[in-house]
């Protein structure tokens, strides 16, 4: 177990390192380099930047300096928002995104898992067919379609829900709906097929032969096994939620990190882009790492390997 954790931890750190390296060199490939703002910044600020990142030194030395800085949590100053450091912007904006993200993940799980189970248990019946059709169609709809269409119908046309900002609970409905739409349909399908697989397993027959009631065999014997694939999907789902937040926050003008990232792309705030990329990548890698460890605890079969 300890060996496995160490191995996974090493891979995680390596991945973050690769991402940081790629980010640095890709941004340096941009004509003028990452420290070049479109509208020139003040000469003092420029001088400070040059001193800090050693811009007169060779690229590799700059790279080492950059890595050292981010190890201390220093991503440098924002090129667009005068006087603010990238890390400060990230830390103020991220909680907003995290809140929506966590709610969306919860909603996806709380809806997806039971609905998938219901479909599997009622295999071939009308309810199952209806769920499959909805999930199959749902999985094909990109998040920007969900959020722009729901904004049009519920926000503009019917005027049921507010479309801008994030002040009351009503503001959360559409962003959370848009963000959890795809993961929910995905989980429904995943859960259904995994439940069907489990229901056909020999140990379910054993349970039945023991005289276990249908409800107990479903909740105790089937669910625990069937939910395992959903746990492995947690990592990709978090990643999807993070990247999905770029779109949702742009469309609903939510003051989160995703929206900030998108505007830093349009503004060419390269320092902000670099910082956010490395921050989000580290976050995703960390989540994946945690999910892997959790999975090992849930599924006893992998313990010995």
């Amino acid at each position: 177990m300890a060996k496995y954790i160490c191995k996974r931890l090493f891979m995680a750190v390596l991945t973050v390192f690769v991402v940081a390296t790629l980010t640095f060199f890709l941004m340096n490939a941009v004509p003028g380099g990452p420290y070049e703002a479109e509208k020139s910044i003040s000469p003092q600020a420029k001088a400070a930047l040059e001193a800090k990142f050693g811009l007169d030194k060779p690229l590799f030395t700059q790279y080492v300096t950059y890595l050292k800085n981010i190890l201390h949590g220093d991503f440098g100053p924002s090129l667009k928002q005068r006087g603010r450091n990238v890390i400060d912007i990230i830390l103020t904006k991220f909680p907003v995104s995290a809140k929506i993200g966590i709610i969306s993940v919860m909603v996806s799980l709380l809806v997806g898992v039971p609905v998938g189970c219901i479909a599997a248990v009622n295999r071939g019946k009308v309810s199952d067919s209806a769920i499959i059709v909805i999930a199959t169609v749902g999985i094909a709809v990109p998040s920007f379609v969900v959020c722009s269409l729901s904004m049009y119908f519920f926000g503009v046309k019917l005027r049921w829900l507010p479309t801008v900002g994030l002040t009351t609970w009503k503001h959360y409905i559409m962003p959370v709906f848009s963000l959890s739409f795809y993961p929910t349909t995905y989980i429904v399908r995943l859960m259904r097929s995994s439940m069907l697989d489990v229901l056909g397993q020999d140990y379910m027959r054993t349970a039945k032969a023991k005289g276990v009631s249908r409800a107990v065999s479903l909740f105790k014997h089937a669910l625990r096994n069937a939910v395992l694939p959903v746990v492995t999907y947690l990592g990709p789902m978090m990643a999807y939620t993070l990247t999905g937040s770029f779109i949702i926050e742009k469309v609903f003008t939510i003051p989160g990190l995703g929206g900030e990232f998108v505007s830093s792309i349009t503004n060419r705030d390269y320092m902000m882009i670099m910082g956010t990329t490395i921050f989000l990548a580290t976050l995703m890698v960390a989540i994946n790492f945690l999910v892997d460890i959790v999975y090992k605890f849930i599924d006893p079969r992998i313990n010995l390997k």
Binding site: V19, T136, A140, P142, F246, I247, I265, L280
Partner: protein, 346 residues
């Protein structure tokens, strides 16, 4: 004493031995069909897959063929024809109609620059289709080569190659795609200004950077699948059996590995198309996709959001179309999977 109630009906000839033909007539043998014919038959019988295929073909016709003879082009701005409602005409056009000319209606109206929206949608879906198909081919070639090389050499080569795949797999792809497309934008634009590289400008630097991104990142899934397939097949007993019967490497690869892999390859490649389309529309929506004036379904939807209060059809049309394209490819891919590779069926 037990008595047979049937015995009075029995005749001596009943107890004559039955001939082989009589015995054979009772055995119902099912036809054995070849892999391809069997798979194709199952595919054709799958109504959902066939409808999806039909939808794909229709969309392809409209996006690749129709724009070439359509009276409007996607970049042609018509003065005085800005923000037309569907099926309405501009002042100038109305005059032309009054003069007895035939004017093609704007089926979906025009955008705020006076460009016919129907043709923009068609060209936009052409971008999506192209991205999907080209990306699938790139992924197939790189992934299949990489995976089979890793599986073929095995040992250290395999371990190192697969570690690289693991790392690429854990890198959050969208973030990297964003970075790469930002980074490549400049160099590719420079490239397109050079004489011999004019095609870069035509295809568009962003489209090329999207392809490069797919080529760099998206093949890992394919590589893993191909590798595991080859490994399983290499170890499988019928390959050992074929080898024991004296079949050469060429024959084993042709007859056994390829026929068994091909189903998985076709299915994985087809299912890759919608996910590439998905990513492209995502990037375009964020403004990182194809460059204006070239439209993409993602960028069309993104632009339409601001005016959706007044011109909702500008938003709904690309939004519905992109979903329809992805849905059709998904369903067709599922149908292929059921037909060609029942093992993969969930």
């Amino acid at each position: 004493m037990y008595k047979n109630p049937l015995s009075f009906q029995l005749k001596a000839e009943d107890f004559l031995p039955a001939t082989d033909e009589e015995k054979q007539s009772l055995i119902v043998m099912r036809d054995s069909v070849s892999f391809w014919r069997d798979s194709l038959r199952r595919l054709v019988k799958n109504k959902v897959a066939m409808v999806s295929l039909f939808v794909i073909v229709v969309i392809m016709f409209f996006s690749f063929v129709v724009p070439s003879f359509y009276p409007y082009s996607y970049e042609q701005q018509q003065k005085g024809a800005e923000n037309l409602r569907p099926m309405t005409y501009s002042q100038a056009e109305q005059e032309r109609i009054a003069n007895g000319e035939k004017v093609t209606p704007h089926f979906l109206g025009t955008d705020k620059l006076g460009r016919d929206y129907a043709v923009r949608i068609m060209v936009g879906s052409r971008i999506s289709m192209t991205v999907g198909l080209v990306a699938a081919v790139i992924i197939l070639v790189i992934g299949a080569l990489y995976g089979s090389i890793a599986a073929f050499f095995g040992g250290w080569v395999d371990i190192i190659m697969m570690r690289i795949v693991d790392i690429i797999y854990t890198i959050p792809d969208v973030l990297l795609i964003v970075l790469i497309s930002i980074a490549l934008k400049g160099p590719l634009a420079d490239l397109s200004s050079k004489a011999a590289m004019g095609w870069v400008g035509i295809v568009g630097p962003n489209l090329i950077s999207i392809f490069i991104v797919f080529a760099l990142l998206y093949w890992v899934g394919m590589a893993r699948i191909v590798r595991s397939q080859v490994l399983v097949l290499r170890e499988s007993e019928y390959v050992t059996a074929a080898r024991a019967l004296g079949a050469g490497n060429g024959r084993i690869i042709r007859k056994h590995l390829l026929t068994n892999c091909i189903g998985t390859l076709i299915v994985t490649t087809t299912l890759q198309i919608p996910s590439s389309i998905f990513t492209e529309s995502y990037l375009s929506f964020l403004g990182l996709g194809v460059a204006a004036p070239l439209p993409s379904l993602g960028s069309l939807a993104s632009t339409a959001i601001n005016g959706m209060n007044t011109y909702p059809y500008l938003l709904i049309a690309p939004a519905v179309l992109i979903s329809l394209i992805i849905l059709s490819f998904n369903l067709f891919g599922d149908g292929l999977r059921d037909a060609f590779d029942p093992k993969l069926k969930k």
